[in-house]
């Protein structure tokens, strides 16, 4: 069985950045990942072997992120679901943070912020963490068909977002446009 310490060292950056994309707040993301690792350590005997291992670990990370989002919503009195948008917008990066990030990254983060949690999480897991649809289904505890549907919706929304159109085209064409 792979050692937890090895997993921590190898997957911590990806897990942390996944949480950052979901939560859009580095401090909250670090809290969520730490909480996830503590949960993994506490329930280490339940970690499955083989291919299900990665999905199980990201399920813990996702749950920690969602718990943090909902705890914040309960404190601010906002509803779960699409109302997440307002919460996320409250976490918009400060000017100095925005300056540090590239324009592309800023555009992507703003576009992600406007996605509801139910679409943002599978999108990040699929295209950043590299989980398959089957693994995402395990991670978010939904059927694979639901995952496929949510991924389709998420892609439609991002494709319709004007902030991403300039970054979606190939670099050569981008230079031609500029």
């Amino acid at each position: 069985m792979e050692d937890l310490d090895d997993w921590l060292r190898r997957d911590y950056p990806t897990a942390y950045r996944t949480a950052c994309l979901v939560l859009r707040d580095p401090v909250d993301a670090q809290d969520a990942v730490q909480e996830a690792f503590l949960r993994v350590w506490r329930f280490r005997d339940a970690i499955p072997e083989g291919e299900g291992r990665k999905a199980w670990l990201y399920r813990v990370v996702v749950n920690a992120c969602v718990s943090r989002v909902r705890a914040d919503q309960s404190r601010t009195g906002k509803d779960v679901g699409d109302a997440l948008l307002g919460t996320v917008q409250d976490r918009a990066p400060q000017p100095d943070e925005r300056a540090e990030r590239s324009a592309c990254a800023g555009a992507v983060l703003e576009a992600l912020a406007e996605l509801p949690e139910t679409l943002r999480v599978p999108l990040v897991l699929r295209f950043y963490a590299g989980l398959s649809e089957k693994e995402i289904a395990v991670a978010i505890d939904r059927r694979p068909g639901t995952v496929k549907s949510r991924l389709y919706d998420a892609r439609q929304r991002l494709a319709a977002d004007p902030r991403l159109r300039a970054w979606a085209i190939p670099v050569d064409d981008q230079e031609a446009v500029l």
Binding site: D5, Y12, S102, L164
Partner: protein, 350 residues
Amino acid sequence: MLSDEDLQRLLAEAAGSFAVPEPAVEVPQVGKPVWQRRWPQAAAAAAVLIVGTLLLAPGGLPAGSNDTAIKRVPGSIGDADGAGGLSSGAGTTGGTTGGTTGGVLAPVAGAPQPVEGFVTGPPGADTARVVKTGTLSLVVDEGKVASTVQRLQVLVSAVRGYVADSTSQESGDHPSASLTVRVPVESFDTVRNQVRALKVKVVAESANGKDITATYADTQAQIQSLKAARARYLTILGGARTISETLTVQQRVDEVQQQIDRLEGQRRVLADQSDYGTLTLTVAETADEVFATEAPSGWSKAWDDAKHGFSSGVQSLIAGSGRTLLVLLVGAFLLLLGRAGWRLARRRLV
């Protein structure tokens, strides 16, 4: 429509804008098979050491769990070598269980104390720890109690021991004294031999050994395990971000620290008991005074009580007989006197 490659590139760009901090949580090594963990190896090594020590000890494994002997010794005052069947207490270090531990004595002020955290003590203490206790009852010449006590104190100080308790009764017809001394365990038998070499009569002696090696090793292993757990919790505590995490982990740290403190106290007591032997010395001018401190029990107490009651009754009868005899004599005298007077009066009347 965004392609998969576009989405991957864009999300990677966005994720790359977040600098990854060092993981604050250091997950301990877990999930190793039993044979790869350290505690079974440590337990097996400790068991081998204990069994090997017992087998290699002089005389091998003792037949009994404890060697304790109390024997009254014939001899006269000035019997320097104490010959006559003294129980030397040989083999007491091989004892495993039972026997009196001697308890924890409060050291007197100024007495040398075992060094804090001093663990190893005498040679071989890492593998064998034995609590040694003993008594010596001494009878000395008249007027020599105080000087004998002083010589005993000098003798104990010479081996870096100390007097833990001292009582003396110098007034009255039968002065006596009692000393409880702590001496380094490696000098325990030496001190007993030196006491016997004094010009005193040893009327009773006892020696006792109790092996606490297993208890000591177990306590030390628990402490090491808890310290490792405390280090892990402190690592986790260092990375705690929320108040609830901090409080939860801090509570665990406090609990572990309390357990460590409690076990450290036990370990220090065990170390002190096994580093220093406890010897109780009784000095008196008569053997009765020496044994007056002993508290018989059971059949011996009943027999002693019966003997004492019988002798007391005879003494009471003898003591009372004198008065009774005097009363009888006075009564007989008065009777004779009255009879003579009666006879004289009757002659005058006739």
